[in-house]
């Protein structure tokens, strides 16, 4: 299996794709499958509503279908849009970053907290985690309430992450998931500052993809 891991940014903002690409640099290893980050050009500039999330499903499925050379896919939007459709049509593993991020956190601590970008996504995440059957492990979800764009570059993002992370610790969280594809650069520093595991969900999904592809080499 010599295909690459195809990480799809379902919004059409190339800067987000570039950020993903940078965040995944440590996962690019000699001999390991390549990690290719692609932009879903049909996607909206940002996925900030249920409708945005729904409208990328068919283009995502088409992209997955077209990339029959891939060894695995990662859908790099925290709503895991199109996960069911892509899995239904893909012969190779498809990972959603919400699912992988949450599961990675569950391997590090008992109760976990989710740092969302905005309150608007809390309900969507809650329903998804209940569907996953892991609600007993969720200490809480709290939002930065910044736009994706602002959170990705703003100087105040780290301070706000510290504040929201601290509140989640107060809720009982013993590990955190960054509920967005664009916060990876803060992960290591936030983990050190808060003293608990912090999971970047895109890294988690790529680790899952790597695990699946490498396992198949035995």
């Amino acid at each position: 299996m010599s295909g690459s891991i195809v990480v799809i940014n379902p919004n059409s903002n190339q800067a987000v794709t570039d950020g993903l690409d940078a965040a995944l640099a440590p996962f690019r290893l000699e001999g390991a499958p390549a990690i290719e980050c692609v932009t879903l050009t049909e996607g909206p500039f940002g996925i900030e509503s249920q409708l945005h999330s729904d409208q990328v499903v068919l283009p995502l499925a088409r992209l997955v279908e077209a990339r029959s050379d891939a060894a695995a896919f990662v859908i790099a939007c925290y709503s895991d849009p199109g996960i069911d459709a892509c899995r239904a049509i893909s012969p190779v593993p498809v990972f959603g970053i919400q699912e992988s991020g949450v599961l990675a956190a569950l391997a590090r601590a008992d109760r976990i907290g989710i740092v969302a970008i905005s309150d608007a996504s809390e309900r969507r995440h809650r329903l998804y985690m209940r569907r996953m059957g892991v609600s007993a492990r969720i200490a809480g979800e709290r939002a930065l309430n910044m736009s994706v764009d602002e959170s990705a570059r703003g100087a105040g993002t780290f301070d706000r992450l510290l504040e929201v992370g601290g509140a989640l610790i107060g809720d009982g969280a013993e590990a955190l998931v960054l509920g967005c594809a664009g916060l990876a650069t803060h992960r290591t520093r936030l983990e050190a500052a808060l003293g608990l595991p912090v999971i970047d969900p895109t890294q988690a999904a790529v680790a899952d993809a790597l695990g699946a592809v490498l396992a198949a080499r035995l």
Copy 2:
């Protein structure tokens, strides 16, 4: 973080350690952390009872404490013995293969089945998965009812895996976890034969460890 991933076989059977070592070959990559498989010499020859599982906890904890150079640990016995103790004392991530194996399967399918070595461990696994809060996702657990030793080398193992895997599919399983550290060599063939994802738990835990160590490089 230049330490290696230390995979501990908590029984004293060096052949099992050697098997782990071989199964993890695909995860040894240029530039990635080394993967070191060690035998817990104080362990029993096989871990086949609750008491066996309990008696390795302190030696495991001592080994973890001694290896302050490690980047991450994997406890490679499907009972995840000593996971709480090792996590309490280790500054680096500690993964148990049962936990990682189950979580990896949950990233591949909705309901999963566990292939155990013997009926004797079913109750222990059930309590552990209930403690994990993921019982809603478990389709069933069925045992090969072979000794660890026999299962590791016996010619009939693959046929028995097919039979038990098929029964779990009948129970509703959409992915399988091999509930033992010594079945990795059958994974790829079983996956192909049964047509659903099959997870080797040691590989899953090492993928988790790899993910944690690589993420920290950003």
Copy 3:
């Protein structure tokens, strides 16, 4: 609130819409809101896969948006496609027939069984019911394994319903939900033959819509 209840058949098979229309005849009452059955012309001829379900979401949302005169909407496909999107944009209540059908059955009995059209939808329904948080009340789901078309008209449908309903009673079901928009004509006879409540989900959703609209008249 003088608008009508708009029941949307998300597939483009007008015969299905006509069947819905006929099944809802008893709910058309002097003084009550009108019940209008419309066909989603952009829909596939039948919704039989995850992709079919996903591809109707945007057209459904557009239809809901266009019908700003409606008093309530019913999405009349048992997968409840687009329910989140339609709710997010509609100022009036939106009901999905799976959700309403299951809840109506829960008001009639403790443990309920679902009669699906085909095995292919079982996983989708299971995830949806887990997301609803009502899994403890589900005795089982079993499929007729007929095509939607065949089930809607075939002479053997009633016999197959009897058989599958009987099996669900054996699973512990005390009420049944017909997991399809096109089985309403069998409801009364099946209920009598099996001796337990049988819910047609479109009727259930329309009753919910009627309840919401009438309540607002006080």
Copy 4:
């Protein structure tokens, strides 16, 4: 099926029955089953304790048995007293307003809040909702802490409803159930003021009854 829907007020306060009757006016439709509100003359003046709730069970069951002409029954006290007994003896559907109210709210929002009359009933409701298996969907319950009588007529009731409803929104409620048979006149105004669905449970149960009776006409 030409019988009427018999709504039983299990307390002996005729003013409460008259209130129910008025609240159900919109559900009286030409051609639909009649809705008859009756007072359980053997009931206490108000049902405010566990014992009150228990003492109406046998009289309720006798009334249900006597009204063999009914098409459906609604037990219009939020404790759903006698629901099991009445269902066991009645050949037609019996709805309890707590059960129907909660289920109606679940068809409108994910997490719901209950507005109780007094703290004394919180435990009873909690046990009933756990028995229903829907606890995952309950955001909270808060009490007006007014007597039934006071709440039914007092000028301050609406203000108190606003206050308690707002607190439940703070708890995460996305829809509210009025946990009492006598608050229907406030429903529409409260819904508008709070901006989320508010369910009157008697209306919800009558809608369920209407749905069951009309479905049987096909």
Copy 5:
């Protein structure tokens, strides 16, 4: 606290009360509270339906109120009739034999099975155990399908217990609860024959009562 433990047989069959009295002989100890078995003369001859269960609530509450000298009460019918009412009015602990029997079994094994007298009570027990929040621990319930009377004296009872107990073991039960007040004489022999803990619920409730009364002596 010198009062006695009052064990109430809520049916009016004095032979059942005498059986309880005999089964509790080992719990009568020098210095311990007396154990007094009383018959609820207003009760039906046997409690075999929901209505029977409901009709004893008020007489039970009156008896509890009258016996203000008691140190604790045990309601010795496996439906735990009137448990909420009696607790609401009694200043001393009230135990129901279903609740105590189930909890005692949970202290002996992970998954437990219930031996019911008849299928008719299965639904009632299931709802009660779900209300208790312990459903995850229930392997199954199966009925002898004998009358209370027959089961209490019939020669075939033990053989039927063996058969039903064996089936529950097949369902995964690791301990059994005898779901009836009149099977105590079979307990020890059944436990020996099946090789797992068997709980007589009246003995379990009396042990709970004894524990509560003795604890208060410190």
Copy 6:
């Protein structure tokens, strides 16, 4: 069965054993099995960490094996160390005080609160109660944050118990469990002061043991 109930203090602090002995005085009854409190001399002076808890497992198992004359065992440390191992090897019932304490509280109230000695054990208790499958009944856990030693003798202990118990009532607790083997002397006074049932877990486990041993005498 004439053996005694052997209560094992798994720490090596004889003062703790003496305290247990005193707390169990009311359970010593003429004709009942003797209650023998023994100190695990190999244990640490106090069990205050995961490692402490793990290190007593093997010595506990050996002690249980050696005392083949016992009628039942009670492991008198609130972490229930070694409960699985001891049960696996003992032919007689083994009770853990956490399990028995929680179950005893569940027989007295719906939602219960746990008074822990220190925050450090909260996670361990939470995982254990989730494994027990009773999380739906837990209102909360709060810690005294005193050392075991200090809590056992300090003058301020009762005031701190009142304060923490009051906070748990605020969390919704309707009964309390003292989450430590050394607080029994405060039980009766605390119960009176707070007005709700307070369970000493060692007394609860001994009551369970008494129940099991006496039941076997019939």
